[in-house]
Amino acid sequence: MPVMRVPPNAGAAQPQKMIHSLFLINCSGDIFLEKHWKSVVSQSVCDYFFEAQEKAVDVENVPPVISTPHHYLISIYRDKLFFVSVIQTEVPPLFVIEFLHRVADTFQDYFGECSEAAIKDNVVIVYELLEEMLDNGFPLATESNILKELIKPPTILRSVVNSITDYEGSSNVGDTLPTGQLSNIPWRRAGVKYTNNEAYFDVVEEIDAIIDKSGSTVFAEIQGVIDACIKLSGMPDLSLSFMNPRLLDDVSFHPCIRFKRWESERVLSFIPPDGNFRLISYRVSSQNLVAIPVYVKHSISFKENSSCGRFDITIGPKQNMGKTIEGITVTVHMPKVVLNMNLTPTQGSYTFDPVTKVLTWDVGKITPQKLPSLKGLVNLQSGAPKPEENPSLNIQFKIQQLAISGLKVNRLDMYGEKYKPFKGVKYVTKAGKFQVRT
C-alpha cells in the first residue's frame, strides 16, 4: 500500500515547480543516470525508493507516489527500468507520470529500445533530449517530430561518419528552430518529402475480460486503438470516416484531430504528424457488443491430505466470427505449494517454472476439429495444506483481419496535396487482460 506519511514541514525551501530531478534505476538497484533541472539533489533520496521497493517485494507493486521528508518521488516502471522523478512541491502527479512515459517513449523512438545499454550508449543524446524536453520543470518539446529536428537520432551511417571524418560540421544538434514548434500544428515538421507517399492505419482491438468459474462473463470491454503510419509529403489534410462511427462514444484523440468536425460529422479530420503515431484510442463497453472468441473448460483440483492434484484444461472457439484464432498462450500462476507439474498437451508445448510457479502453455492456433487440451498431475509439497486459492488463467490470442467490435473504416480522403497516396487499413483483435477464474 502506498506510504501515506505526511512529511514534516521542512523550513524555508525555495519554491520549486514541477520535476526537479530524474534518476534512472535498473532492476538490480543501480542508479545509472541522473539529471537535475535545478540544483543537484543527492542520490541518497533514492534510498526511500529502495525502501519502498523492498517492502513491495515485486517490482510491479512499488507505489508510484512516495513521500519523503523533503521531497516526493513519483516513478514509473517501464521496460525493466524505473524512472524516478523528484519533486518538491505540489505538482499534478499525472502530469509527471505522463511526462515520464513520454521520456521512455522518446528513448524507444530514438534508440529502438528503452534499455540501460541503449541509454548508456547514447548518454549525451539522452542528456540533450532531457534538456530539450523540460525547461525549469515545464515541458518544452515532447513531440517526436520536433525533437528529431532539434536533436538528430543516432543512425548507423552517422556513427560511421562521425568516427572516420574529422567531425567538423558533423553534429547531432540541429541548428535552426524547428518550424513546427510554433505553428498551429506543432506536431508536424515542415518540408516532409517522400518518393512513395503512403498512409497506413492499424485498427487494433484488445479484449479485456474476466470470465468466472462457470464460464459466464463477469466483465468485458474492448480497448481499441488506431495507430497510423503516415509518410506523406508536404501538408496533407486527411479525413478518415467509418461505416459505423456510433460505436465510438468513448474516445481519446491525438491533438491533431479537429474535435469540432468529430462532434458534428463523426469524421476524423486532421493534419497528421510525420511517421508513426496513435491517432485515437477508444473503449467499447456495452456488454452485447463485446464478443468473447474463446472458451476454456477447466478442472483444477487438489486433494485434501495428499500431495497431488489434477489439472485439465481445454480451449475452444466461441463467437470468433469465422476467423482463425491463433497465437494462443495460456499462463497460470500456480499456488506456492505446487512443486512440479506433469502434463501432456495435445498440441503446442508447455513449461513450468518451479521458482516463480508460472505455467506457460504455448498452444498455437485452434482447429475446431480437435480442440487443444492440457492434462496431467500436479505435485504438491508434502504435508502442506491444500491451497485455498484456485489460480486464474491468463489467455493470450490473436485474430487477424477482424475488429471484434465491428468497427470498419469507410474511406480516407486527402486534401491539400495533389499526389495520390497508397492507403491501407489492417485490423487485428487480441486478448488484452483476459482472465478466466477457476
Binding site: 519554491p15 533541472w37 507505489p63 512541491t89 502527479p93 502530469f95 540533450e128 474476466i210 481519446s252 486459492e389
Partner: protein
C-alpha cells in the same frame, strides 16, 4: 561507436586528463572532452573542478558544443558563483544572436544559473527577449521570469517583469500564453496575497481560446488556472464548462483530469434542474473510466481522484461498477484502491455482483488485499440492508476456511454488523466462539470480547470465556484490556450472582495493577458506579447504543469540498489538504467550491445552502477509538475517522463541564455521587467530537504546564461591523507552538458557514499553520471556540507598530477585516531565545 567510451578512465587521474583535453587547440578534442565531462555528470560524479576549463569552451560557433557547455553550467554554476560571472558576457551576446534558437537557448540557460550576483546582469537581455519578435524566444523568456523570481523576487518586481508577463497573456501565440500562465501561476503560488492572475471574463476568454491551440502541457497549465476562477453566475459557469468539455477526449490523462477538476468545480454552480447539468454528468463518466485502461501508475492516481469524485457525486459512476473489478495481476496498490471504490458504489442494484466479486477476492494470495476484501463484505452488509444476510453467510463461509487472518478480519466486521442490526444475527455467535483461540490480533480479540460482553445473557459460558482472557490481562494491548473490563462489567450487570468474583478481579487488575491512566480511570468509574448506584450503572453501561452510520471512512464534507478543488494534485492522492504537507506550509491559499449563484431571472433563493455540506446531509460517523465517552458507554471502536482539529463548540463545552465537575469529584472526593445518568444519553445525539478527552488535556494542562501568560480575550471585530459576526480572541504560546484563540459568535439571524482566515504580511511572518476550520455551520446565537495554530514562515513586511497584524476573515456572507496587536512574547521560545523571525 557509442557514448560508453566516455566512461572509460585511465590511471593518470580522470580530472587531470580531461583538463588537458578541454584546453586542447583542436575543436573536436574539446568537444569530445566536454562530452566526457557530461557523461561523468550523468552518473553523479563531481566534475565541478573543471568549471573554468569548460566555461572557456563556451565561446564557440558550434551549437552542439555550446549546448553541452550550457548543460554543464546549469549543473555547477551554483557551486562556483565567482566563475559563473565569466559566462555573463556570452549570455548577453547570445541574446542578440540572429538565430532565434540561440537567443532562446541563452535566455533559457541564464535563468537556470542560480547565482545572486549575476542575476542583475541578466535583466536587460531578458527584457529584450520578452519582447522578441520570435514567439519561441518569448515563450522561453516567460519561463525565465519565473526562474528569476525564484532567485530574486524583489528584482523581478522592481524591473516590472511581472507586468510584462501579464501582458503576454494576451499574446497572439497560444504557446506563449500557456507559458505565461504557467509562469504566473508558479509565481502566484509563492505569493498568495498578490493578485497576479487577475482573472476576469475577458482574460478567461483569452485563456479559453488559447486552450484550443496550445500544446497538451500548456492545456494543463491553462485548465489549472481556470479552476481558480469563480464565474459570476451559472451562465458563465456553463459557458466555460461547454468550452472545456472537449478536453475530456484528450489522449493525455493529465489534461483529462485537469478538465474534470474545472467541471467538477463549476458544476457546483449549476442548478440540478438544468438539462445541461444532466448532460455534463453523463459526459464525465467515460473519460474517468478510460483513465483506468492506462498504465498502472496513471490508474493509481486516477483511482485516488475517482474516490473523491464518487463521494462528492456518486451519480456519475453509479453504472460503471464493473470497471473497478480487480484483475488478479493488477499491482496491489491498484487493487486496494479499486476495492475501496467498489464499496462506495455498492447499492441494492448491484450488490449481488459486488458480493460475488468480494468472495472471489477473499481467496486470493495477497494478504493485505484479502483482509480488505473481507472487511469490504462487512461494509456492504452495513451499507445495503437487503444484502446483510447474504454478507453474514458469506463471512461465515470464510470463517470456515480457518485461514487465520481471514477469520480475524471476519470477526471484526461481524461485530460492526451486530451494531448495525442488533438482535438479528446472534445465531452465529456459537460459530464465532469456536474460533476464540485462533485470534491473536488485538483488534480481533477486542471485537470478540465485545461480542461476548454484549450478548453475555445468551452465551452460557460467557463467564468462562471472559475469564480465560483475564489470565493474561497484563500482556494484552490497551484496546483489549479496556474492552475486557467493560465486557465483564456488562456480564456482571446481566448475571450478577455468578460473576461477582470475576468483576472484583478485573476491577482490581484495572485500578491497582495497571499504570495506564485510561484503564485506571475507567476502572474507577465503573467501581464507583457499581458500588454507589447499581441501577444507574445499569442505565449507563447497558444504555441503548446509537446505531452506526451506513458509510464508514467517509471524508469529512468540508475537506472533501476542498479536495475537489485540488483534483489531480498530490493533495488528491493523499486525501489531505495541501496546507497539511506542502513544504514549509508556505502560502497555501484555501480553495473552496463556488457557491451556487443564480443568474438574475432564476428563482432560486440566494440563501440556499452554498458550498459545503448542505444541512440535513450531516453524516454521523462512527466515533473514533480515542473517544473516551464513546468507550465509556461502550459505543464501539469503529474505524478511525479523520477527526476535526481543535474546534469545540460551546454546546459541547457545556456537556463537558457538566461531566467534568463530576469527574473531578469522582477522583478527589470520597462522597461521590454518580452524575445523573440521564445527562449522558441526552448528549449522545450531539456531535461530541473529542469533548471528554479534551477535558482531560485541559485539566492536566492547567495543572502541570506553566504556559506563558495569556491575555484575556478582547473583542477584535464587533458584530456591528461584520454583519453579525463577532470575533474576540487572544494569542497564546504553549510548548513551542503559537496559536490564536478565537471565539466566533453569530449575532445575525442567518446561519454562517464557509469560514476562512488570512493574514496580511507582517513583521514576523506570522501565518496560520492550518486552515480555519469551523465544522458545523454556526447557527444564530451560537458561539464556537477555535484555536488556530500559527507559524512564522509567512511573508515578512515591517508593520507600524511592529506587532500589528491585519487579518481578513471570510464567511458565506462577506469578507471582514480587522487589525490587532499581538504580544511579542508569543514569539519567544521557552529557552529565552527569539524564535525564527
Amino acid at each position: 561507436m557509442t557514448d560508453s567510451k566516455y566512461f572509460t578512465t585511465t590511471k593518470k587521474g580522470e580530472i587531470f586528463e580531461l583538463k588537458a583535453e578541454l584546453n586542447s587547440d583542436k575543436k573536436e578534442k574539446k568537444k569530445e572532452a566536454v562530452k566526457k565531462v557530461i557523461a561523468s555528470m550523468t552518473v553523479g560524479k563531481d566534475v565541478s573542478a573543471l568549471f573554468p576549463d569548460v566555461v572557456n569552451c563556451m565561446q564557440t560557433d558550434n551549437l552542439e558544443l555550446k549546448k553541452l557547455v550550457y548543460l554543464y553550467l546549469m549543473n555547477y554554476a551554483k557551486s562556483q558563483p565567482d566563475m559563473a560571472i565569466m559566462a555573463v558576457n556570452t549570455f548577453v551576446k547570445d541574446c542578440e544572436d540572429p538565430n532565434p534558437l540561440i537567443r532562446a537557448l541563452a535566455v533559457r540557460t541564464m535563468g537556470c544559473i542560480r547565482v545572486d550576483k549575476i542575476t542583475e546582469y541578466l535583466c536587460e537581455p531578458l527584457r529584450k527577449c520578452l519582447k522578441d519578435e520570435d514567439p519561441y524566444v518569448r515563450k522561453t523568456a516567460a519561463v525565465c521570469v519565473a526562474k528569476l523570481h525564484d532567485i530574486n523576487a524583489q528584482l523581478v518586481e522592481d524591473q516590472g517583469f511581472l507586468d510584462t508577463l501579464k501582458d503576454l497573456i494576451s499574446d497572439s501565440n497560444p504557446m506563449v500564453v500557456a507559458n505565461a500562465v504557467a509562469a504566473l501561476s508558479e509565481i502566484a503560488e509563492s505569493h498568495p496575497s498578490s493578485n497576479l492572475l487577475d482573472l476576469n471574463p475577458q482574460s478567461i476568454n483569452k485563456l479559453l481560446t488559447a486552450l484550443n491551440e496550445c500544446t497538451e502541457w500548456g492545456q494543463i497549465f491553462i485548465l489549472d488556472c481556470l479552476a481558480n476562477y469563480t464565474p459570476k453566475d451559472d451562465r458563465e459557469a456553463q459557458s466555460i464548462c461547454e468550452r472545456v468539455t472537449p478536453r475530456l477526449s484528450h489522449a493525455n490523462s493529465a489534461v483529462v483530469l485537469s478538465a474534470v477538476k474545472v467541471l467538477m468545480k463549476f458544476m457546483e454552480m449549476l442548478s440540478k434542474d438544468l438539462d445541461y447539468y444532466g448532460t455534463l454528468l453523463k459526459k464525465l463518466a467515460p473519460p474517468l473510466v478510460t483513465l483506468l485502461s492506462a498504465e498502472p501508475e496513471l490508474q493509481y492516481v486516477a483511482l485516488r481522484n475517482i474516490n473523491l469524485i464518487v463521494q462528492k457525486r456518486p451519480e456519475i459512476l453509479k453504472h460503471e461498477m464493473k470497471v473497478f473489478f480487480v484483475k488478479y495481476n493488477d499491482p496491489i496498490y491498484v487493487k486496494l484502491e479499486k476495492l475501496d471504490i467498489m464499496i462506495r458504489l455498492a447499492s441494492q442494484a448491484n450488490i449481488a455482483q459486488v458480493l460475488a466479486e468480494l468472495k472471489e477476492y477473499a481467496t486470493e494470495v495477497d494478504v493485505d488485499f484479502v483482509r480488505k476484501a473481507v472487511r469490504a463484505i462487512g461494509r456492504c452488509a452495513i451499507k445495503v440492508e437487503q444484502s446483510a444476510e447474504r454478507c453474514v453467510s458469506t463471512l461465515l463461509d470464510l470463517i470456515q476456511t480457518k485461514v487465520n487472518y481471514v477469520v480475524q478480519e471476519a470477526i471484526v466486521v461481524i461485530k460492526d454488523i451486530f451494531r448495525k442490526y442488533p438482535n438479528k444475527y446472534e445465531s452465529v455467535i456459537a460459530t464465532l466462539c469456536e474460533n476464540l483461540d485462533s485470534l491473536d490480533e488485538p483488534e480481533a480479540r477486542a471485537a470478540m470480547i465485545w461480542i461476548v460482553g454484549e450478548y453475555a445473557e445468551r452465551i452460557d459460558n460467557a463467564d468462562e470465556l471472559l475469564e480465560s482472557f483475564l489470565e493474561g490481562f497484563h500482556d494484552e494491548s490497551t484496546q483489549v484490556q479496556l474492552q475486557l473490563l467493560t465486557a465483564i462489567v456488562k456480564l456482571f450487570l446481566k448475571k450478577p450472582t455468578e460473576t461477582q468474583e470475576l468483576v472484583q478481579q478485573v476491577l482490581s487488575l484495572a485500578t491497582q495493577d495497571s499504570d495506564n491512566p485510561d484503564l485506571r480511570d475507567r476502572g474507577y468509574i465503573y467501581w464507583r458506579l457499581l458500588s454507589t448506584d447499581p441501577v444507574a450503572a445499569k442505565e449507563v453501561v447497558l444504555a441503548e447504543k446509537p446505531l452506526i452510520s451506513e458509510e464508514t471512512d467517509l471524508i469529512e464534507p468540508t475537506l472533501l469540498d476542498e479536495l475537489i478543488c485540488y483534483i489531480g494534485t498530490l493533495a488528491s492522492v493523499y486525501h489531505k489538504p495541501p496546507s497539511a504537507f506542502v513544504e514549509g506550509g508556505r502560502g497555501v491559499v484555501h480553495k473552496s467550491l463556488p457557491p451556487r449563484t443564480a443568474s438574475s431571472e432564476s428563482t432560486e433563493s440566494p440563501e440556499m445552502a452554498p458550498a459545503g455540506a448542505p444541512p440535513g446531509e450531516q453524516l454521523d460517523v462512527i466515533p473514533t477509538q480515542g473517544d473516551l465517552l464513546g468507550d465509556l458507554l461502550n459505543l464501539d471502536l469503529g474505524p478511525p475517522v479523520s477527526g476535526p482539529p481543535l474546534a469545540t463548540s460551546s454546546v459541547q463545552m457545556g456537556a463537558v463541564d457538566l461531566l467534568g465537575g463530576g469527574l473531578d469529584s469522582l477522583i478527589g472526593a470520597p462522597n461521590f455521587v454518580a452524575p445523573p445518568a440521564a445527562t449522558v444519553p441526552a448528549n449522545l445525539g450531539a456531535p461530541m467530537g473529542s469533548g471528554l478527552s479534551d477535558l482531560f488535556d485541559l485539566t492536566s494542562g492547567v495543572g502541570t504546564l506553566s504556559g506563558s501568560y495569556v491575555a484575556p480575550k478582547a473583542v477584535w471585530l464587533p458584530a456591528m461591523k461584520a454583519k453579525g459576526l463577532e470575533i474576540s480572541g487572544t494569542f497564546t504560546r504553549q510548548v513551542g507552538s503559537i496559536s490564536m484563540d478565537l471565539q466566533l459568535t453569530n449575532k445575525a439571524l442567518q446561519v454562517m458557514t464557509d469560514f476562512a482566515i488570512q493574514f496580511n504580511r507582517n513583521s514576523f511572518g506570522l501565518a496560520p499553520a492550518a486552515p480555519l476550520q469551523v465544522h458545523a455551520p454556526l447557527s444564530p446565537n451560537q458561539t464556537v471556540e477555535i484555536s488556530l495554530p500559527l507559524n512564522t514562515v509567512g511573508s515578512v513586511m515591517k508593520m507600524e507598530p511592529l506587532n500589528n497584524l491585519q487579518v481578513a476573515v471570510k464567511n458565506n456572507i462577506d469578507v471582514f477585516y480587522f487589525s490587532t496587536l499581538y504580544p511579542l512574547h508569543i514569539l519567544f521560545v521557552e529557552d529565552g531565545k527569539m524564535g525564527e523571525s
